[in-house]
Amino acid sequence: MARDVTVVDYGIGNLFSVCRALEHCGGKVTLTADPEIIQNSGRVLLPGVGAFAHGMEELARQGLVEAVQGAARRGNALLGICLGMQLLLDESEEFGLTAGLGLISGRVVPIPATTVAGQPQKVPHVGWNELLPANEGTTWQGTVLADTPVGSAFYFVHSFMAMPTDPAHRLADCIYGGARVAAVVARDNVVGCQFHPEKSGEFGLTLLRTFLA
């Protein structure tokens, strides 16, 4: 029972890899779009790739907005991945302003087209990048990153980035174009990672194991 995990199936992207990775880590996966099951699950994973507005539309169309919010408000563990992480915030600037789940206050904004030094940079940010504590004194102990060494690399693919209002809700950043980009956001039981743990090799699996523990 301890390793049960519910993966929200709202028709966004490929869930094969994330389900396989969870199973590989000993998770007992329920892939479902049933709001009842999601709301009552002790551990929920919200995946997702693609556009923010499309993700919210699909969640709403399947009656899953309240279910995911409900699971979070009950104090159940919720992990959003990639778009699933961005959806945790209040709103996104992708294709006009779109409301998100509002579980972590803040906004999702485009990755700047230039580096800090003013050079043009590649967007999307694709590839392996290293995690650093977001703030001085940020500790990963007791979080989903408890078993993750500082500086381990994860696989990112994204064009937008999360900007939590409260810096304390940033757990880990990576550096892209000289600027900090939120890599892991967290507020109590609600956690989101911008990268794909299911594509990040052994460190990714370690993170998922911590989430399942």
């Binding site: 693919v157 299911e198 594509k199």
Partner: protein
């Protein structure tokens, strides 16, 4: 600072992992799934599967191998060979691929590049190019394992492909492929100097020094290797260590 990606390339024919020279004279190496798993465990940053007979749906089809492989591989997987439509791409992505590599169909119908990029994002759309040296600083793009000429100049074709939405270039030197004589530095340099998407150098890696060369002299973003791994001339751990000692940034993957 960009991290150089070390990519294991697996060429597939039917149910087998194969390896040739100049993409011809194919020799059976073994099971693709077993080799893929070993390379993943040895720390490959990504894997590339290329089906040399482009049998997406037939017997011993590629999708089945991809599905089996993706079950135990937790790094990005690029699959190429026989992709002729957006639906083919969608099918492979559902089987567990993260990116698709397209060559022949993109040459025949360049709009396919835009269609795939629009539907799945440019990071999913890898333009695969088989390049043959035809004169001083000139290369021609080939298709079908270097059997068919296209008349396209490689550098021009790369530039056009990126404009159409290709998010990455898999650049295979037919002349160097399978020879272990090192990469075609001039070719890679000619391509990296005209586009700002990542370029994967493929074909010719015989020893770890070759990787350092193609990165330092030609600014390759990633290196695909096959022969050196399949015949165990060097392991990914040794190659990574060598790259790091030579001053390249590579991923640290624990263990």
């Amino acid at each position: 600072m960009r991290k150089i990606r070390l990519i294991a390339r697996l060429d597939i024919k039917g149910p087998n992992l194969i390896k040739g020279v100049h993409l011809e004279g194919l020799r059976v190496i073994g099971s693709p799934e077993e080799h893929a798993l070993r390379y993943y465990q040895d720390g490959a940053d990504e894997l590339i599967y290329m089906d040399s007979v482009a049998s997406l749906y037939g017997r011993n089809n590629l999708s089945h191998i991809v599905e089996q492989t993706a079950r135990d591989i937790f790094v990005p997987l690029t699959v190429g060979g026989g992709i002729r439509s957006v639906d083919d791409a969608a099918h492979l992505l559902r089987c567990g691929a993260d990116k698709v590599a397209v060559n022949t169909a993109a040459v025949a119908q360049p709009s396919l590049i835009s269609d795939i990029a629009r539907r799945f994002g440019s990071q999913c759309m890898v333009l695969s190019i088989e390049a043959k040296h035809i004169g001083e600083q000139r290369w021609e793009a080939y298709t079908d394992n270097a059997r068919e000429r296209t008349g396209l100049d490689v550098v021009e074709w790369v530039r056009r492909g990126v404009e159409l939405g290709a998010g990455e270039i898999l650049l295979t030197s037919v002349d160097q492929e399978g020879t272990r004589r090192g990469f075609d530095i001039d070719l890679v340099k000619a391509v990296t100097s005209v586009v700002n998407v990542p370029v994967i150098a493929s074909g010719g890696m015989g020893k770890p020094e070759d990787l350092v060369d193609v990165v330092k002299k030609a600014e390759a973003d990633a290196v695909a290797m096959a022969d050196i791994l399949h015949y165990k001339r060097a392991g990914l751990g040794d190659i990574r260590r060598h790259a790091r000692e030579a001053g390249l940034e590579v991923r640290s993957y624990g263990a």
